[in-house]
Amino acid sequence: MKFVNKKALLYCVVYYGIIATVKTCYYVSGVLRHPEQGGIMPQNRFWFKLDNAGKVFPGQNTSRWSNIFRSTMIMKEKVDPTLLAQAVEDVLPRFPCFDVCIKKGFFWFYLEKNPNAAPPVQPDINNPCYRVRFNENKRFLFRVFYRENRVSVEFFHALTDGYGATTFLCTLCAQYLRLCGHDISVGGNVLDITQPATKEELSDPFRDCEGKTARSMRSTRKVYHYRGTPLPAHTVGIITGVMPMDVVHKKAKEYGATVTEFLAAVLMWCFYIQQNKDTRRRDDVSVQIPVSLRKPFQRESLRNFTLTYSIRLDPSLGDYTLEEIIRHFILSLRLVNNTKNLKAMVAANLKLEKGLMRFIPLAIKNFAVGLSFRLTGEHSTSVLFTNVGLIHLPEEMYEHVQWLNFFAGPGKINGLRCGCAGMNGKLAVSFTDICRETEIEQRFFTTLVKMGIPVKIESNR
């Protein structure tokens, strides 16, 4: 103790003591006050911890790349931006977990209630999924766009996943239609904005679903990555194919597959053919499938609650036909997709934020996570295929909307990603790509057309 300056130590203790006391008094006074007098309601907590899945993304956000995704509702009438801005203000209090801005702590990023009223409603742009800066867009982590008869929302992945974004979009469009004078009830993906958010919607559900054994499903085998001539920086090519849901469903049933399995298998086949064309190497082709945990664990969280499976095909074993790949995909996915595996994966992910990791400064954590993300994340997959599933709306809303489009922004290593959503009898499959070539997209949609599925294409290219 003789090397310690006792006076300096005393000053430090007093300084931190005063700060801790002032902060505690400030917080307690807010909680004890009535909400109408400016107090903090229990569901409008002053700050949120990022959920387990969302912890990775803020540290990896750069000036050129953000993990972001877009959901677009195609309506039947032209959108009025004034009413849409009003609808955003009306809807936002129902989603306190989106009414936040991101802050940097010493050990972790965290979400704090945004002091601004609502994000601006902007005219649409040609390059969706444009990178996020935390100090732009009134510090909100989601953006709202409009164009002709389209309403789009873009979410930073740290905030929520596809389900949360789509639920927000449906509730927003329902409120917009109400402001237009239509009578729209609640149900399906449209939430009741007169009710406060439930505790379950705001909670981080990963902690309740942790298994006893932690096991990661990642593989370190080399996989094929599609490469092409890059588009200019900050631009992205979107190609969307809209097809009748019943025809796709019927075709998938012929192969004994679900719609997700069928489309993801066709995508795997496209990559398998592309590798044969591009190179003589026979690396694995791997399709990453995000799986929502809401159904298996009976949760209704609006925050991130997905895990991903990587389904692999080993072309070094021989040549494959499309039918063989579909069969391989179905069996592989069904073999791994069960609650026990999911619990083990949740436990493996939670393990990374426990123990000593909690006390490592954020900058070092970001570096380590970035390294791991580069070596094992996107490196271990060829393409991401994400399906938000069938979106349900109140019956009277269907006559005002056409279909829903969902896609994820391009990856850091894999420039091509595929998103899918079904609504109102239509299924929209969208490709996001940072390459000029459209070979994969062409092969994918042409294969579906050859199978007898009519496809309508639209694009920003």
Partner: protein
Amino acid sequence: MSYCVHCGVELDDSAARCVLCNTPVCNPNKPPQDLPTPYSEKVLLPPQVRRRFTAFLLSMILLLPNIVCLLTNLFLPGDIFWAKYVNITSLFVWILFLFPFLLKKIPAFVLVLIDSLSVLGYVFFFYMDFEQSGWFLRVAVPTVAVLALSAGFTIEWCQRKKPDWPYIVFAVFLEVSVFSVFAGVSLYYQLSSVYALLIGSIAAVSALMTAFFFLAVKHNRHLRAWLSRRFFF
């Protein structure tokens, strides 16, 4: 509605060509209309970095440690005046990396001239300070002059002809090859060492081989496409 005759997909009413295969839309029953496209034409790009302001800021940051070193050396004098090495190195770095950004528009050959003179000045400073066996005039001046001339010639040629990227890479490696030969020969005469000549020759041959590889890339369409895809140019 229009369909692509090649892919078989239905196209958007506003589409002038198929986005999948680039086949133009030719629908005699439907006159062209100015229909709204699904996406806006406006591309959102990040704001440009204010280069002059950033260069000025970095210059000020660079100035601070220099002043501190100078004052420290003045008020706490030692055996040698060491602050001059810090100051001259900072000045050299500033001329090479920050000074060009402070000017609005400057011709490339003027920049090459300024950089060459600053390199010569920096070398001359150490030459005067340590050893004066005549190597400055015999080796340093001709080597820097040859490098400056070849760089100036390449830049001028690139600006006039505006060649493709493989041709630019070819020219740069050719320049490196010529410079390696010259540096090897001049060092051989100064030091009388065969090793200098050998190292210069190895560097020249390697650069020459790389240059001819890129010349082949320029003329072979398939090789160029393969490189572009493989290395994501």
